[in-house]
């Protein structure tokens, strides 16, 4: 019996569902989440057992936990995204996927959304730690909401970047290496001396860079008790980056997903 044509635009959901199963039932997602929880446990234990913890240090502890969650959560999403196309190519399973009537656009979208699950898992794991560290000083709700919004925006940006790299990389190893390099390069401005960061060039660099801008915003609201609107301008680059890169990944992925990797293809 020839199957009915699928409803227009639903194939991405089938791809998304299977990619989720492969990530989580296949075990990779759970292993990464387990490793992440170990890291958070160590950090939370160290800050919680600091006897001299005053109120502000407690805010700093919550901020640190959230920053680690965002950094590692986006890293996990990037790793999954960087493997999404180039990994399938090397494992020989991409051809079977391209032979189906599913459009390349829907394949890309399904894979991109699935990689975000790693960020959401990291975020959910972070919630109890943030609750524990922040419950005495009434910032739990704020922390969770800010973490979810900013972290998700950054995860979309980073995952989209990973997909783009994966589509064009000549091999999976190149894809993963480039992805990690890109993430490290984006975090490098945070290592500049504070005097350099405060100059106009340094501040511009921090604002334009979505990761540093997002980190700055979260720190100001959680650690420095700024209101939500006080530093809202810092969220412009994360939102713009998320939209632009997600669109680029979907459109360019649809155009350039091929059996052979590399720019020439």
């Amino acid at each position: 019996m020839t199957p009915a044509r699928p409803r227009k635009g639903t194939s991405w959901a089938v791809v998304f569902g299977q990619e989720l199963r492969d990530l989580w039932m296949g075990g990779r997602g759970l292993v990464l989440s387990f490793a992440f929880s170990c890291l958070l446990s160590v950090i939370a234990f160290l800050v919680a057992t600091n006897k001299a913890l005053n109120f502000l240090e407690q805010r700093e502890a919550v901020n640190l936990t959230l920053q680690v969650a965002i950094a590692v959560g986006t890293l996990l999403a990037l790793l999954a995204a960087a493997d999404a196309v180039s990994g399938e190519r090397e494992r020989g399973t991409l051809e079977s996927l391209l032979l189906t009537p599913v459009s390349r656009f829907e394949i890309t979208v399904g894979k991109l959304l699935a990689t975000l699950s790693l960020w959401f898992a990291a975020f959910i794991i972070t919630v109890p730690y943030a609750w524990f560290l922040g419950r005495g000083i009434s910032i739990v709700g704020e922390t969770i909401l800010i973490g979810l919004v900013v972290g998700t925006v950054l995860a979309i940006f980073v995952a989209s970047l990973g997909i783009l790299i994966s589509v064009f990389a000549a091999s999976n190893r190149v894809s993963l290496s480039l992805g990690l390099f890109a993430l490290l390069a984006l975090y490098t401005p945070t290592q500049l001396p504070s005097s350099a960061q405060k100059g106009w060039a340094g501040e511009l660099l921090l604002r334009v860079n979505p990761l540093t801008a997002g980190e700055h915003y979260v720190g100001k609201v959680i650690a420095s008790s700024h209101s939500w609107s006080e530093d809202l301008a810092w969220l412009i680059s994360p939102f713009v980056a998320a939209v632009v890169f997600a669109a680029a990944a979907s459109i360019l992925g649809a155009r350039f997903i091929r059996l052979r990797g590399g720019v020439a293809g």
């Binding site: 759970l30 292993v31 989440s33 958070l40 446990s41 919680a48 057992t49 109120f55 407690q58 000083i137």
Partner: protein, 189 residues
């Protein structure tokens, strides 16, 4: 010696009598600023936000411009590290000119970030005028046990343990360890 001591006491008494009001005189003596606060005592808990208002009055005969109001925080006890930036993120206010006889009120939003007894005061100055300090607002902040550090252990151990068990269980289930009567050896051909 007795006369010197007597003079010191008189000076101190004068300062105390003047009490909640302080005045500054300009070089030409034609303007004077005074700083008052809406309350002199605040009691709160660690981590709570609180607010007080300071009113700067120009009792001189000419308008005063270029004024800057500055908020400060000190601990009455030594060996307590206080970073005023932690208490309030907006401690410096640039004021509009105050006409003769006029006044302006500033609302200060603060957060109690240390436990103990603290002095909060506002200073006003400009290019022409020496700093005028307002009265001290005494802030008593009670300690709150906000974090039970020992309680972190169940969380720090429990979450990784739970995730580890789920991971292991799923892997074994997928590999067929929990399937009864099913061979896991690969067939030939």
């Amino acid at each position: 010696m007795t006369r010197i001591r007597l003079a010191s006491v008189v000076v101190l008494a004068t300062v105390l009598v003047l009490g909640a009001t302080a005045a500054a005189r300009g070089a030409d003596g034609s303007s004077s600023l005074s700083v008052t606060v809406d309350r002199s005592q605040i009691a709160t808990k660690l981590g709570q936000k609180f607010v007080f208002r300071s009113t700067i009055t120009n009792s001189g005969s000419t308008a005063v411009g270029g004024l800057i109001a500055h908020l400060n925080v000190l601990s009455f006890r030594g060996n307590v590290y206080v970073d005023p930036e932690d208490w309030s993120s907006n401690r410096v206010r640039y004021l509009a000119p105050i006409p003769a006889g006029g006044s302006t009120t500033i609302t200060w939003h603060m957060e109690a970030v240390n436990a103990g007894s603290f002095a909060v005061y506002v200073t006003v100055l400009s290019h022409e005028l020496a700093p005028t300090a307002g009265p001290t607002v005494t802030v008593a902040i009670t300690q709150r046990r906000t974090l039970n550090s020992g309680g972190i252990l169940p969380l720090a151990l429990g979450i990784p343990a739970l995730l580890g068990l789920i991971t292991l269980g799923l892997r074994l289930r997928r590999a067929g360890y929990f399937a009864r009567g099913r061979s896991r050896a690969a067939d030939v051909g």
